[in-house]
Subunit: 331 residues, 2 copies
DNA sequence: GGCCGGATTGCAACCGATTGCAGAAGCGCC
DNA sequence: GGCGCTTCTGCAATCGGTTGCAATCCGGCC
């Protein structure tokens, strides 16, 4: 069906090597044959078959894009940025949906069969075992939104979740809240654990502050709604730090349905600063995570690692800061 | 790096063909050699390289998943369903982000280089020229959420947008609204055009009803918000049919910000029935589009077309129906 | 034991490209 | 024209598999 090297070679009256060389960067071809080949290629509509080429070059230009979060609208933006960024570099993302995968082994196999050049994991909830499994399989991996380590054994780009937890707690305490709640994402996620650790650390210095902790099964509106509805069945805290804006917005929805006002009855602070957080009728006070920068940096790091697979693992951290809106009582 | 056929053959003490055959469905291998090969393969951790195999089989099991909508949260669910459905069939989606692509030609080239087995287009806004370009390049294509034709020249799975427009108008009129608005998505999208056609047709029979039409630049919350805010600068209609729930929710947000009540001041009916539409504090009356079924059917159709590329193009239509909630005044 | 036919097996060519190597061209200069 | 050098070019092997074909194996039967 498709035009091959050989047909171009015949039409141009040169060897197959000559054709190949005109299509490979920096190969030695005279202007004359290059012209002949390009003319023939144009006439036939030829373009090299990346997959066949990959057999010898060992580069497929395929990048595994793996995630397990398909409920949080933020991730649509994340996929948008990743796919654009990768395709600008001539790389093509192969999506791997690990929404209900338990076993890293199977995922590794799936991607190995396709000989992806690298894997970027876009998730704050996927267990680190997955990243390690890919690495152990010899595939370059970058974990975006993962847990940065001070002694990284894998490339990680993200934020300091401990600090975010700490910042949230300090902010709530400074506003005069004395019973504060941590409403995290999945308890198994490192992001949740780290935020809780930071949150708890901050409250340790304030003996007059009571802390409640609870967790949502997923990062989704619905999970936030349901968890807050459950909390309202008991004695809720005066203010909550939610592990994600989607949880916050879900929680606010539950509060409003219960006839409670935010921030008059309950304060809420989120994390991410997604588009909706800025809407006038939501107006969520939140901790902004620089998604765009994290993704840009992840792609850069992936490209660099493709160049030098032996590159020393690094952790890249981006700063988060409070975006003050209207869901906490004023200072 | 990776284990190859040859190494397995040597360890198992058989020819390369034998190894190949134990890994290809329905090939003739004796139980004895199969056992030897499988043992060797297990020891070495061998698995066939799909891409190398594709060179002779001409099947990469790669499916192009192309879309241009990365703003509408509904599409996150769509990607979720597509990726899961495809990977259940052993197919792998290569994502192609056409958010700001103008030229079908370039996109075709991108996918051709990777010799995808097929392309599914998930978009209600991508011009039909893209689908045709893929088809003309000899790639099986299924257009999900596309414009069904009564004389289809391309596989399409979707809804009858004309009917939806008609249904929306009839519903608004039946509720007693006499100035009704059509607030569509991008004017260039066939879905918008068809809905408007249906909407206009319904109103033709009601000379006492005035119609306003306007369009949003994209299917996103923000576009809906901005368009409604603009409309509120003039004399708004009594009720609007929005081309998507995200537009509706954006519009409601703008209305609330302006101190107006839905449905007391302005009625809204959406389209899709996304998760948020059911929230108590949104409670959107909408036309439900059976997304899940459309995707399941699209994947089935793709699989069938892969089997028989010469399959006659068909259009598959799914019914839509009103989901009554609280954003229209009662009957 | 010998013959027959179907089930297995290995050889070798091929899928669409790249690339090391050796020979051929091209060039400047004497 | 001949020399030495650099730049091009084609041959042939290779990447990791599949597959048509012919040869071999095997069991059953006379």
């Amino acid at each position: 069906m498709a035009v091959t090297l050989k047909e171009v070679a015949i039409l141009a009256g040169v060897s197959r090597s000559a054709v190949s060389r005109t299509f490979t960067e920096g190969a030695s071809v005279s202007e004359k044959t290059r012209a002949k080949v390009e003319k023939a290629a144009r006439e036939l509509g030829y373009q090299p078959n990346v997959l066949a080429r990959s057999l010898t070059t060992r580069r497929t230009k395929l990048i595994g894009l793996v995630s397990d979060n398909f409920r949080n609208p933020l991730f649509l933006q994340i996929f948008d940025l990743f796919t654009r960024g990768l395709q600008d570099l001539g790389l093509r993302p192969v999506l791997l949906n690990l929404s209900d995968a338990q076993d890293p082994h199977g995922s590794v196999r799936m991607l190995q069969q396709y000989s992806v050049d690298g894997v970027v994991i876009a998730s704050s909830t996927l267990p680190p075992a997955f990243a390690r499994a890919f690495r152990d399989a010899g595939v370059p991996v970058v974990h975006s939104f993962g847990r940065p380590s001070s002694a990284p054994d894998i490339h990680v780009v993200g934020i300091d979740n401990r600090f975010c937890g700490w910042l949230a707690a300090e902010t709530l305490i400074a506003r005069g809240y004395r019973t504060i709640g941590f409403m995290g994402g999945p308890q198994t996620a490192t992001s949740t654990q780290d935020r809780l650790a930071g949150f708890s650390e901050a409250t340790k210095n304030h003996p007059d502050v009571a802390v409640r902790t609870s967790f949502c099964k997923a990062y989704s509106f619905e999970a936030g709604r349901m968890e807050m509805a459950r909390l309202l069945g008991g004695q809720p805290a005066e203010a909550y730090f939610c592990g994600d804006d989607v949880l916050s917005i879900g929680a606010i929805s539950a509060l409003q349905s219960a006839g409670l006002s935010v921030p008059n009855d309950v304060g809420i602070i989120g994390l991410n600063d997604m588009e909706m957080a800025g809407w006038q009728n939501i107006n969520l006070t939140t901790i902004r995570q620089p998604v765009r920068e994290i993704i840009r940096s992840s792609i850069e790091l992936m490209a660099a690692t493709l160049e030098d697979p032996a590159r020393t693992p690094e952790a890249r951290l981006f700063a988060c800061h409070i975006v003050e809106r209207g869901t906490l009582k004023p200072l």
